[in-house]
């Protein structure tokens, strides 16, 4: 199929940037979206132009590196997938596809379609861990009984790959689905409960400091999340923060 691509080009963080039109032809419907981007970049390199910078790594939906706001949606029109898992069969011959970077003040553009997502790392560093001594006398993992229900819910929350699609699709650029997942993953398990109050307090404080917006429960994040992280995780984070605040006057 032949396509017209409208792509955000920006030389560096300080550059103003603009949308540029490109044409690609003979795209197979079996290609992934990123393979289509590879075809375009080859074309650009061959004609001596600067290829388009975009993030990617595993190309199988597990690392969370690929991003892209495609035709007005994070990771494009399909559901439950990352951009590397998006197939060109979702598009038709002759389509015009708009490709933009994630847009959020907390995710500044580095170049073209690549944004800086280290704000997520800083939120993680603020509390997204448990402090365990790995001194050689580690307890057997099965020594602490955990209900199936809690284990399943924690596992579901832990599926978050930190891609940032939730922020990108939220009208408020809110990171609450991501932070909710990271808080929940630990809060549901006995190992995580020990530091639960400090964790949620510090992670939310860091989230606010990074300049992410405030959740208004539109639910766009849940729809666009490639890993099916649910709004329940945001509700749980809200409860956890309330509990944590009651503990500390």
């Amino acid at each position: 199929m032949n396509l017209t691509l409208k792509i955000w080009r920006q030389k560096g963080p300080q550059d103003k940037g603009k949308m540029v039109d490109y044409k690609v032809s003979d795209i197979s419907e079996h290609m992934s979206f990123l393979e289509m981007m590879d075809v375009l970049n080859e074309q650009l390199v061959n004609s001596g132009e600067e290829p388009i910078a975009f993030d990617h790594d595993c190309r199988e939906g597990i690392c969370g590196m690929c991003s892209l706001h495609i035709n007005g949606e994070a990771h494009g029109p399909d559901r439950g997938i990352t951009t590397c898992q998006l197939h060109m069969r979702m598009f038709k011959d002759g389509d015009t596809i708009t490709i933009e970077p994630w847009r959020a003040k907390a995710f500044p553009v580095i170049k073209d379609l690549v944004v800086d997502r280290t704000a997520f790392e800083r939120i993680q560093q603020a509390g997204g861990y448990i402090s365990v001594n790995t001194s050689g006398n580690t307890q057997d993992a099965n020594a602490t009984p955990i209900s199936k229900h809690a284990a399943d819910e924690a596992m579901d929350a832990a599926a978050c790959i930190g891609c940032g699609a939730c922020v990108a699709s939220c009208k408020n650029s809110s990171a609450m689905l991501f932070v909710g997942a990271k808080v929940s993953q630990f809060a549901l398990l006995p190992q995580g409960k020990v530091e639960a109050a400090d964790r949620v307090r510090n992670m939310v404080a860091q989230m606010d400091l990074e300049g992410f917006g405030n959740c208004t429960n539109t639910g766009a994040c849940e729809v666009e999340c490639p890993k099916g992280i649910t709004l329940e995780n945001i509700a749980r984070m809200n409860r956890e923060l309330f509990k944590a605040s009651l503990l500390k006057f």
């Binding site: 409208k6 955000w8 949308m19 706001h69 035709n71 007005g72 949606e73 029109p77 708009t98 933009e100 847009r103 959020a104 003040k105 907390a106 699709s169 009208k171 408020n172 650029s173 809110s174 609450m176 307090r201 939310v204 404080a205 989230m207 606010d208 300049g211 992410f212 917006g213 405030n214 959740c215 208004t216 429960n217 539109t218 639910g219 766009a220 729809v223 666009e224 709004l231 329940e232 945001i234 509700a235 749980r236 984070m237 809200n238 409860r239 923060l241 309330f242 605040s245 009651l246 500390k248 006057f249």
Partner: protein
């Protein structure tokens, strides 16, 4: 609780509390208004009680005013912050693909409700204050002393088709505001029940029936006076 109410989540919590308060207030307000459809006397009695009972006037009324003002001021503050969190807009954004129109336009439905509230204050509340506290007439009686004045005043307000039209539009926007807001408020306080099917249905029923009730009362008096 230090820091809780200045955090993003704490602010949402406060927003939801003020919203719950308004949700309960609307039920009470409608319950009083509905009586005017079938009994002028009952409506008069209730209005007089509501307007002169010290507990309601000096206890609940200030809370109500604070709740309303807090709700829309906080609404605007949050909206501003959220707008600022995306300094560069998307060239193409398909909001309809992942969220409802109501949820994306709360500040606009809110603005229409606010405009209505201002009109409502000028219509009913300021004259009430004037009669009761400036002129000192707490009797609630008509100028000729023949019975209570509330029902006649109400009928009088709904004569103008323009006012009734504005009233209807505002309540449609209130319905839209609530169609998102009702369940949203539960989520904001961390209550999972807001996302259960039963609660979503209750939310829908409330959001449609309550504004519809107000509209019915307005239209009834417009066509029956």
């Amino acid at each position: 609780m230090s820091g809780y109410f200045t955090s993003s989540i704490g602010r949402k919590f406060a927003m939801a509390l003020s919203a719950f308060f308004l949700i309960i207030f609307l039920v009470i307000h409608l319950a009083v208004n509905i009586t005017s459809v079938f009994s002028a006397d009952l409506f008069n009695e209730l209005s007089h009680f509501m307007g002169t009972n010290p507990l309601i006037q000096f206890g609940l009324q200030p809370v109500l005013i604070f709740g309303v003002v807090f709700h829309f001021v906080m609404g605007f503050v949050l909206e501003q912050k959220n707008k600022a969190a995306r300094n560069i807009k998307y060239v193409r954004n398909n909001g309809a693909a992942n969220s409802s129109w109501m949820s994306r336009n709360m500040v606009y439905s809110g603005l229409v409700i606010l405009a209505f509230l201002i009109l409502h204050f000028i219509d009913f509340w300021i004259p009430e204050l004037n009669t009761k506290y400036v002129q000192g007439d707490m009797s609630g009686l008509l100028a000729d002393g023949e019975g209570f004045r509330y029902f006649e005043e109400l009928q009088h307000k709904f004569v103008s088709p323009i006012r009734v039209g504005a009233y209807v539009v505002a309540f449609i926007l209130l319905a839209l505001h609530l169609l998102h807001g009702f369940t949203s408020a539960f989520q904001s306080v961390g209550a999972t029940m807001g996302r259960t099917k039963a609660m979503k249905n209750i939310g829908k029923a409330y959001s449609i029936l309550i504004p519809l009730g107000f509209i019915v009362v307005a239209l009834f008096h417009h066509f029956n006076h």
